[in-house]
Amino acid sequence: MRAFALTVSLTLFAALGLRSFASAKDGAGPKEKELIAVLRSDAPEADKAMACKRLAIHGSADAVPDLAKLLGNERLASWARIPLESIPDAACDQALRDAAGGLQGTLLVGVINSLGVRRDAQAVSMLAKLLGDGDAAVASAAAIALGLVGDDAAVAALRPALAAGPPAVRNAAAEACVVAAERLLAAGRGADAAALCDAVRRADVPPQRIAEATRGAILARGSAGVPLLVEQLRSADRRLVGIGLSVARELRGPEVDAALVAEIGSAAPARAALVVTALADRGGPVARKTLAEITGRRDAARAMRLAAAESLGRMGDLESLPSLLTAAADDDADLAAAARSAIAAMQAAGVNDRIVGRLAAADAAALPMLLELVTRRRIAAALPNVIEAMKSPEKSVRTAALAAAGETVDFGRLHLIIERAIGSDDAGDSAAALAALRTACVRMPDRDGCTAVLEPVIATGPVGTRIAMLDIVGEVGGPRALAAVAAAARNADEPLRDAGTRLLGTWMTADAAPVLLDLTKELPEGKFRDRALKGYLRIARQLAANEAERIAMCRTALATARGDGDRAIVFEAIEGMPNAAAVQKAVEATP
């Protein structure tokens, strides 16, 4: 029970931001003494564990002897090692080294791991001896720790284990050597790093270790490692190909670009496509030029063209555009789609001008693709061409033009789409125009202006058209749209009431709340009134500015309830609100 109480208090202490740690600078000594006293007492293990944890902050060399005593305790050793790894005092290293001599098994592994984390160079000779321990876990831990220390003595100790140790130890020694090689490379000793990695590559170790060492060997050699990189790209071993592709993205230098371009030219298509993606990730002019060439070459392998086209979307420049436009018109639907997506995503200046330039001279076969690009890039400058294309006798051109009009038309010419939406004899044109109208209206800055343009259709058109226009103004939003939809909700025609209450039920702004409340008072009982009540409560749940407003709205809803059914709707809605219990309590407390 005492342990539980302590844990709870510590949790609260944590919740308060562990502020007492801030007092450490005011006097770590007393705090540390207090914690050491816990370790020396007959306090429950829980208390000692937490004392260890806090000594990670407050401890010094003074705490080390008492912490070291716990290293042989299976339940508390892991807690003791927390401060022994973090206290910046050589006494911790000494204590861990001393403890290693008297421990075995998992506890010894833990101590060795801590020595590795602390990179204790004075432990090297001891760790070297432990490489020969009969417990493979201990020997492997020693190898890993030596790799973390990574000095010349540690590396010298690892080499025999790599060459002739038991399998598990060879595996660990290989990992350790690659870690040590990284340190050598960082210290400017590339040749030593490469030699160490080569030793691992020659060793009888698992394939993953070989792959890691191969990476290290390439990087350590720099540009001189390119032939080794190419060797991996040509390998029959999937793992080594993977390492080659990975290093191809890491290794700097024009020699790498040149080697990758050469590989793309000679490798089998599937492999070449992977190299294309690696080259693309490197970026730069060589990559851009190569990818553009591949994309535009009809005789290039499909997989390569696909990979190149996709990559150009994020790196292509204006010079890449002709190749992409060629691919965008290809009979291969996947390639065409990839090229179109790439063009749609291109950031280079001048792309839009080039597309508009092509529009003027395009025939009916080419127009749908170019109009799709106008749509996806929202090229406003193409609007005159788009309007012209809307008159095309070719249906595919008209459909594409209407989609483009949705993205490019300005307010002054919105009527062109409206006329097509309500006046066309072609059902396909009408549907395309309606979709375009929705797109156009939603992006227009003048919401009320948009609604005003649509109001005559809402007032006089066939019911289906009126509902379609209501759906559009519902998406547009704004005060005038809200009024139009509210009027529909009160209309004598049921389909319009249905549309109006449906749209109000999902209105995006809170100014629909009074409208919905009025409807709950005005409408006869039935699904439209229920919808209004639920819509009002949805606004309370999702759009109320704060809890007080939410509670007030729920109280209002309750006050307008006509029976148990309404009250059930209110309380069901409250259940879904933030802080539902408090809201319900407040609402129920209403006089």
Partner: protein, 422 residues
């Protein structure tokens, strides 16, 4: 500002565009047009598949080139449930079950693993998986400390594995668009990034009174504890979601949600090294600063209601705010010019999983790669250190240590329980 006061200039994009899925490379180029050939198939194993893991696993199983072949869990009931899910999908009974994840990692036919244990295990298990030659999709938060973040990054690089943190919002169009606006200068010079931490308190799992431990076949407590310091069995600690998050000393909401929204802020500034200054919470905010003065603000309040996990990026000339609704608000509709952004509400992992799988094949870096995850996690951990110490701290990205602050530096790492290591 609330939605009610938004002018039309503050354009509310409401998803009129057709849904588009961000992909690295067309699926057909990778052999995804139809059933995948065996050589193109990625064999996946799952470790710690609970509620969240099951959701992500569903995204894996949707992919035509995935074969889910093995499940590992310390809980027998979960092992059985996931096997049933996978076998039903594949129409056979070949999914193998394992209690110890090392058994699963030893399976040579497994190419990649989904790690969805509690955060106590994420970093350590990812390191083990990488050394075993597996590519890794790991749920977030991926690490418990700053040192673990750096170590995991280095291990992934060294082993040449593909790593995807479970930061699936990087593959959702509205978040990607918002980050792109910031990253490409469309908002002007960046001034301030806002992230929603959903709680700024440190949390601690502690040591609860011992209760009778279940049969390890049903619940393996020793494996559950893994790298966390030992304590006796107590079912209240058997909540993987919170157990030892952030090392149990400096975890909490900043890490839980920060590994998503801070991660997005990091992406907005091109995944640069994390901020260098962190102040403790004040008036519901933690303010951190990058080395050029750009602020990263963790704040609880003041968000436009755009769903959970909101972020806001403010530049010299414009701003954008977005959240899990799939909608975003812009300071000007001009910012949208020339672009269509699909609206995908919620936070599906499908696109993130696809990004990962494509990169498994191409060996490219997925969006939530080890470097990006490392930087974002360091920012969260450093903010938590400021919370824990109750005072500002300064972090040096060159040395990866706090500047002149021994207490803070002692919180950089925490020993793994024996025999575990990073």
């Amino acid at each position: 500002m609330t939605v009610r006061s938004l002018s039309r200039r503050h354009f509310l994009a409401a998803g009129s565009a057709a849904a588009i899925a961000p992909v690295v490379i067309p699926g057909s180029a990778l052999g995804l047009d139809g059933a995948a050939a065996p050589s193109e198939r990625i064999v996946v194993g799952g470790i710690g598949i609970g509620r969240r893991g099951g959701h992500v696993l569903g995204s894996f199983l949707e992919q035509p080139d995935v074969r889910f072949a093995a499940v590992c869990d310390i809980k027998e009931a979960r092992r059985t449930a996931v096997k049933k899910m996978a076998d039903t999908k594949h129409g056979d009974d070949r999914c193998t079950m394992h209690r110890d994840f090392r058994e699963l990692l030893d399976l040579q036919h497994i190419d990649a693993v989904l790690i969805a244990t509690g955060p106590n295990w994420h970093g350590t298990m990812s390191a083990h998986a990488a050394r075993a030659g597996k590519d890794i999709y790991c749920e977030k938060p991926c690490t418990k400390t700053i040192a673990q973040s750096l170590a995991l990054r280095d291990i992934i690089r060294r082993t040449g594995r593909v790593f995807q943190a479970g930061t699936q919002r990087r593959n959702l169009p509205h978040f990607a668009f918002a980050c792109e606006l910031a990253r490409t200068g469309r908002l002007g010079e960046m001034r301030r990034l806002y992230a929603h931490p959903a709680g700024m308190q440190a949390a601690m799992s502690g040591w609860l009174p011992a209760e009778p431990a279940p049969d390890p076949k049903e619940v393996d407590w020793e494996l559950y504890l893994g790298p966390a310091a030992w304590r006796p069995f107590n079912p209240r600690l058997l909540d993987g979601f919170n157990f030892e998050k952030g090392g149990g000393l400096v975890g909490g909401g900043v890490l839980e949600w920060g590994s998503h929204c801070v991660d997005l802020c990091q992406w907005a500034v091109n995944d640069r090294p994390p901020p260098v200054e962190y102040a403790p919470p004040r008036d519901g905010q933690i303010v951190a600063r990058y080395d050029d003065g750009v602020e990263l603000v963790f704040r609880e309040q003041g968000w436009i209601p755009l769903g959970s996990c909101p972020v806001r990026f403010e530049g010299e000339t414009g701003w954008v705010e977005t959240g899990d609704s799939g909608k975003f608000v812009l300071s000007s509709p001009d910012l949208l010019a020339g672009r269509k952004v699909a609206k995908i509400g919620g936070y599906p992992a499908t696109f993130h999983v696809r990004d990962f799988l494509d990169c498994v094949k191409t060996r490219a870096k997925p969006k939530g790669n080890e470097e990006a995850a490392c930087n974002a996690h360091i920012a969260c951990h450093a903010a938590n250190v400021a919370i824990a110490l109750g005072r500002p701290v300064r972090y040096d990205n060159a040395t990866n240590r706090f500047v002149g602050d021994e207490e803070a530096n002692r919180l950089l790492s925490e020993a793994c329980r024996e025999p575990w290591r990073m």
